[in-house]
Symmetry: C2
Subunit: 215 residues, 2 copies
């Protein structure tokens, strides 16, 4: 029974890592859609997000059933409940990638990002992809140090977001209100995506230690 339980727990963990890889692919496609006005990439992000959603619901159900049937305690219980919270974060990350792609689609074939902000948006995209990759590693290894790195790395995204908002609000902004709105939404979607990876990092630390790290 115990052996079977461990197997199921391991399987759930492996599924979480896969879900996280899907959100990484989704945010990467979404960034391409936005930066290269690439419509197939937008479709791909939407498709991945829909798949994350379906698989997340299934996995959530499986974790709940396992808790109910096997009555785990301590680390196992934290892993399962933490896992269910992680599923919710990954689901949200998928939706945010789809939102980013949708901004690109709505304006296709016009580019959404003004030339002088391409650098910041590309950096936000790269940061989000890197954070998703780091979350994946952490879900797989439960390495606390890597989790702390992920949490700290998020400051970079906040800094990029500040730059982005400052640009849209500056008197030099030449692209009009509609473009400022798009940029604001994109910035916010990327920031929230990264916030969810931080939550995953914090939660992995909780699963391992039983305590949440200070923020």
């Amino acid at each position: 029974m115990r052996e079977h339980f461990d197997e199921q727990l391991e399987e759930i963990r492996a599924n979480l890592v896969e879900l996280c890889a899907m959100t990484e692919a989704a945010i990467d496609s979404a960034s391409r859609a936005v930066l290269d006005t690439d419509l197939p990439a937008a479709d791909r992000a939407a498709e991945l997000s829909a798949n994350v959603d379906v698989r997340a619901r299934e996995l959530d159900h499986r974790a709940l059933t396992l808790i109910a049937r096997q009555q785990p305690v301590a680390l196992d219980l934290r892993a399962l409940i933490g896992g269910m919270h992680n599923i919710a974060d990954l689901q949200r990350m998928g939706s945010l990638a789809a939102h980013i792609a949708e901004v690109a689609r709505l304006h296709h074939p016009e580019p959404v990002v003004p030339h002088e902000l391409r650098g910041i948006i590309a950096d936000m995209g790269a940061a989000a992809t890197a954070q998703a990759a780091a979350a994946q590693e952490i879900l797989s290894t439960r390495n606390e140090v890597a989790a702390l790195d992920l949490i700290w790395a998020d400051e970079r995204t906040d800094e990029l977001l500040r730059k982005l908002f400052a640009a849209t609000k500056s008197d030099d902004w030449l692209h009009g209100a509609a473009s400022a709105v798009n940029i604001t939404l994109l910035g916010r979607f990327y920031e929230r995506f990264c916030d969810h990876t931080v939550e995953i990092g914090r939660r992995v630390i909780f699963v391992v230690t039983g305590e949440f790290p200070d923020q």
Copy 2:
């Protein structure tokens, strides 16, 4: 033992209802901060949000401990795990109310909302307050019909958001990019706040029936 468990479960439920009341007060204060350039209301929203955060963490810990010690099954387990997810939603609702208040604070004493959008923002604020009040009732009564009403009522917020975005993106927009950014953020914060109340509604249905409603 069972009696004691029921008491603790009831206490957690009562605490969830209280947390939800705090988020309702927070979003109400935030709306006043935004619409009436009311700085004490902005402070109040921030303070309530911080309190929600502290109490949410405490309650989350209590629910987890109860699951670990008492090994509940079926409805009790769903109530506790659903409760933990609800805590996360309420925490986020508190943060979003604080974000809204912060937009008002950053621009104080200038008003953030252009005159012709006051109606839409006031309606979004009223909708968010009503959704939080409905969530509270549902957490308290677990009434499925009320939960479905809450889920459906959210369409109103989506419609308001569409109007808001259309206004900022229209050629008639006269308030510049910075103002469009603020309005976009406010709209999005209200929308997300309401989305979390919908999640609570869906989850209460899950706790009662064991199934999530179709969306």
